[in-house]
């Protein structure tokens, strides 16, 4: 029975796909640790087998009592530790460098919900359990959960990040090989956890531009947010150009905000999300608490993402230009336009299954 399985095993691919800039360096470390482990395992197995054979029990040959050896103990404590320090430093270095996405990263919003991945693009189009990205462009995902903890994992990219309810998580990658790759939820999230899977489609820029231009119809993410802004009556108090009962939102994105308790916070995605869902958590200096109704349970995480996109669009510059890195980009970049500019630099793309 076992012998009949061997060809199946041989046929199955036993080498994991590498499809992002991150995958190669992570695999190099993985194989370094695996190689060192294999050597250690062989050394220990070989010593045991050798000793077991050489010193097997024979009559008239007695064991020689040995107390131990401090020299040996220090050797086999310090040497492995030094090798482990290399593993630690290497892994920490890669991890540290992978913390912040490049400033020119394309932003996509992902909401995890029992049991699906909802994807929103800045141009307003949406998908479920599928993510389309152009090859060669860094992609930053801003992720939220509607319910329990999920974990966004694309094995071929060697990336993974938990999506924890209550705040935004983010992860980024630069896909470098066109194709179709598994997207898994890797934090147990209930009954259909195993069904919370999807595909990431990495496309040639030209192909991607075609795909991106086909979507939409509901306006950009910011326009959708603007509609919600009207619908929920936000505009009654958050006036655009003059002081109302609530702060002016024009131009605040990623700017410092003075709070009534003296602290200063940056009006980033996390702050805006909290202020929508739980307005009393942080009160801007000069304003009263309990003016704004809280929207927790009233709006979905996807709605919050749309509202934030709208608020972002009210600010003339993006974080990228503020930080001085990368070139200024419009607040709500069109995916099609961005991909098209990528395509100019790339050779004609090959067909990618959608």
């Amino acid at each position: 029975m076992l012998a009949s399985l061997l060809p199946i095993v041989a046929a199955a691919s036993l080498i994991a796909d590498q499809a992002s800039e991150q995958a190669g360096p992570v695999d190099a470390l993985f194989w370094f640790i695996t190689g060192v482990s294999a050597i250690m395992t062989v050394v220990i197995f070989a010593s045991i087998c050798f000793f077991a054979y050489k010193y097997r029990r024979r009559t008239a040959v007695h064991a020689t009592q040995i107390e131990g050896s401090n020299k040996l103990e220090l050797t086999w404590s310090i040497l492995p530790f030094l090798v482990m320090l290399v593993m630690f430093g290497w892994g920490a270095d890669l991890f540290y460098k992978a913390q912040n996405p490049p400033t020119n990263a394309m932003e996509v919003f992902v909401t995890g919900k029992q049991w699906m991945w909802k994807v929103q693009y800045p141009d307003g189009s949406r998908e479920i359990d599928a993510l389309h990205v152009p090859v060669g462009t860094p992609v930053k995902l801003t992720m939220a959960s509607e319910d329990v903890i999920h974990s966004f994992s694309v094995p071929a990219f060697r990336i993974r990040h938990d999506v924890i309810p209550g705040h935004y998580d983010s992860v980024w990658f630069t896909p470098n090989k066109p194709g179709k790759y598994h997207l898994f939820c890797t934090e147990y999230c209930g009954n259909q956890h195993a069904g919370m899977t999807g595909w990431v489609y990495v496309m040639e820029p030209r192909e991607y531009a075609n795909w991106a231009s086909g979507g939409g119809g509901q306006g950009t993410l910011a326009e959708q947010g603007q509609a919600l802004f009207q619908q929920f009556g936000c505009a009654t108090c958050h006036l655009l150009d003059q002081q109302g009962r609530c702060p002016i939102l024009r131009g605040i994105y990623n700017k410092p905000v003075q709070l009534d308790d003296g602290r200063t916070v940056i009006a980033d995605d996390a702050y805006l999300r909290e202020s929508i869902l739980d307005p009393n958590a942080k009160i801007v200096a000069g304003f009263q608490p309990d003016v704004m109704p809280h929207f927790k349970g009233q709006v979905t995480e996807e709605n919050v993402i749309q509202l934030i996109a709208y608020i972002k669009s009210l600010s003339p510059s993006t974080p990228a230009s503020q930080q001085g890195g990368g070139q200024p980009t419009p607040p709500t970049p069109s995916r099609a336009a961005r991909a098209a500019s990528q395509a100019n630099a790339a050779k004609p793309g090959q067909a990618v299954p959608r």
Partner: protein
């Protein structure tokens, strides 16, 4: 060794020992004899082992087909209950509550543990906890995984979370009391001459385990109580919708549960030190280093929990610190492996069944430990987290390590516990089957994890099927490997050849008293004049 066994002097049938001194169920249920309580524990944890193992067989069957065979709901409850039962009702008490309960008083030269009644109480707490958890199973099970992660467990799960968690809560106290008893016994009950540097390494490792049990388990109890508060009274502790923080649960849970994985391996390491020394007829190489490595593991185990949270978005500097500390804790484990290997050097090595399990332990624990490095290093953990790589890693340590050590220790001390020998050929055959079955089950899971297959999936992409089928085939072999000893050990109770006091020619106080021992172990308090593992030539001991 069989010839030695037959050569051992016959014990007079009239001789009274702890097993035949009293009869009837009351004499067992109200006993305060540490040896009888150990036997009660052996029976209880063996039952739970086979319940948990049966669940593993069922969900391995489910994984034969990519789309799964059972409903997702069934599968989720099976793996959750498997984890809860195996961790809290088998692995944690496995060696401490059975072999150590039986042996620690004898090894230190005492008549019993420091608190015999508390020892019995700990067994009752274990049984109550087990019943509560089995109640949850019978009512329909729990589907949170053994980790009970919030807010799924506190708000969303529709299964019997409270009953299962309460069972674990109660069993936790059993574990605390056992640890407490060991610590006090080792401190206060050592016979004259039994200095700390003469303690068998099995005592050292269980002493270290006791410290973790006493210091860590209360945190688990608190965590489960908070979980219950939130689930029953909707007090916002972990669920962000009512003001809680789900990551707080993970910090609290792993503050116990990472040290707990050392509760689940340190006693096994102690068993291996005894076995390797006995069957090499040598003092353990580097006794001091092996003893202190147990203590180092106990201390360090409390500062590595954050490596379970590398992908939760904890601060990057916190993650780096935990990664470093996780590397540090690997050093004392490595020290032990090297010393066991060196103990065989210039020894007189025999291949009795306990030694075969010890070989299995060293090999499998080495693989389990080294693959821990992939998970301690940050960027490789990000790639492997939540996949079958992790499942394979901890099964190599927990099953390849601890269960191998438990089986080895059970065979090693079986003649002492029961007064009978087991059939040698069958036991060697079973040890081989366990080793083969184990590797066939869990090695493919390393590859599955490396290829990206997530754990806790009742269905999976078809390209993973071949490796899953291989793993299930291995699991069925492994299952047979565990059933065979169950049969011949029970058979040996009546039919096994009688074992003398010292069938292995082993050093150590437990081998200087009759098999089975009398109720109070020693007629007179022994006076210890030599170091542990004082092995001379075999003939002198056997006589």
């Amino acid at each position: 060794m069989a010839t030695l066994t037959h050569g051992a002097p016959e014990i007079a049938a009239s001789e009274v020992n702890y097993l035949n001194v009293e009869h009837g169920w009351k004499s067992w249920l109200f006993t305060t004899d540490h040896k009888r309580i150990a036997v009660l524990y052996i029976v209880s944890i063996t039952l739970m082992f086979f319940v948990g193992g049966f669940m593993a067989v069922l969900f391995r069957i489910n994984l034969l087909e990519p789309e799964g065979i059972f409903a997702a709901e069934t599968y989720n409850r099976l793996f959750s209950m498997h984890g809860i039962i195996m961790v809290f009702f088998f692995l944690v008490p496995s060696i401490p509550a059975t072999l150590a309960n039986f042996l620690i008083p004898i090894m230190v030269g005492a008549k019993d543990l420091a608190f015999p009644r508390i020892n019995l109480l700990s067994w009752y707490l274990y049984v109550i906890g087990a019943f509560l958890t089995m109640y949850a199973v019978i009512r329909g099970g729990v589907d949170t995984g053994w980790t009970f992660y919030t807010p799924y467990s506190s708000t969303y799960s529709n299964s019997y979370v409270l009953a299962a968690a309460f069972g674990v809560f109660v069993a936790g106290f059993s574990s605390i009391l056992t640890g407490l008893n060991f610590i006090v016994t080792v401190h206060k009950m050592r016979a004259p001459g039994m200095s700390w540097s003469r303690l068998p390494l099995f005592v050292w490792s269980n002493y270290a385990t006791g410290l973790i049990q006493v210091l860590g388990t209360p945190v688990l109890a608190i965590t489960l109580l908070l979980l219950a508060f939130e689930r029953i009274a909707h007090v916002g502790i972990f669920d962000p919708n009512i003001g809680g923080d789900p990551i707080l649960f993970q910090h609290l849970f792993w503050f116990y549960s990472h040290p707990a994985v050392y509760i689940m391996i340190l006693p096994g390491m102690g068993v291996i030190s005894e076995i390797v020394s006995c069957f090499s007829r040598k003092r353990v190489f580097g006794y001091n280093f092996v003893a202190f490595s147990s203590m180092a593991i106990a201390v360090l185990s409390f500062v590595v929990w954050g490596h379970h949270l590398f992908v939760t978005g904890q601060s990057v500097y916190t993650a780096i610190a935990f990664s470093f500390l996780s590397m540090v804790v690997a050093v004392p484990s490595a020290i032990k492996v090297f010393n066991w290997t060196a103990t065989m050097y210039k020894g007189s090595v025999s291949f009795d069944t306990p030694m075969l399990y010890a070989f299995g332990f060293i090999g499998l624990f080495t693989i389990g430990g080294l693959t821990g490095l992939h998970l301690a290093s940050l960027s490789t953990d990000v790639a492997m987290h939540g996949t079958y790589f992790v499942v394979a890693h901890f099964h190599y340590v927990m099953v390849g390590g601890m269960v191998m050590a438990f089986m080895g220790g059970l065979h090693f001390w079986w003649p002492k516990i029961t007064g009978r020998m087991y059939p040698e050929a069958w036991s060697k055959f079973a040890a081989l089957i366990v080793f083969i079955g184990f590797n066939l089950t869990f090695f493919p899971q390393f590859i599955l994890g490396y290829l990206g297959m997530p754990r806790r999936y009742h269905a999976y992409p078809p390209e993973f099927q071949a490796l899953n089928v291989l793993s299930t085939a291995g699991a069925s072999i492994l299952g047979i490997g565990y059933v065979i000893p169950m049969i011949y050990l029970i058979w040996s109770l009546k039919n096994g050849p009688k074992a003398g006091p010292n069938p292995w020619g082993a050093a150590g106080l437990e081998w200087q008293i009759p098999s089975p021992p009398t109720t109070f172990n020693f007629d007179e308090t022994p006076i210890v004049t030599e170091e542990a593992y004082n092995y001379g030539p075999l003939e002198e001991v056997i006589g």
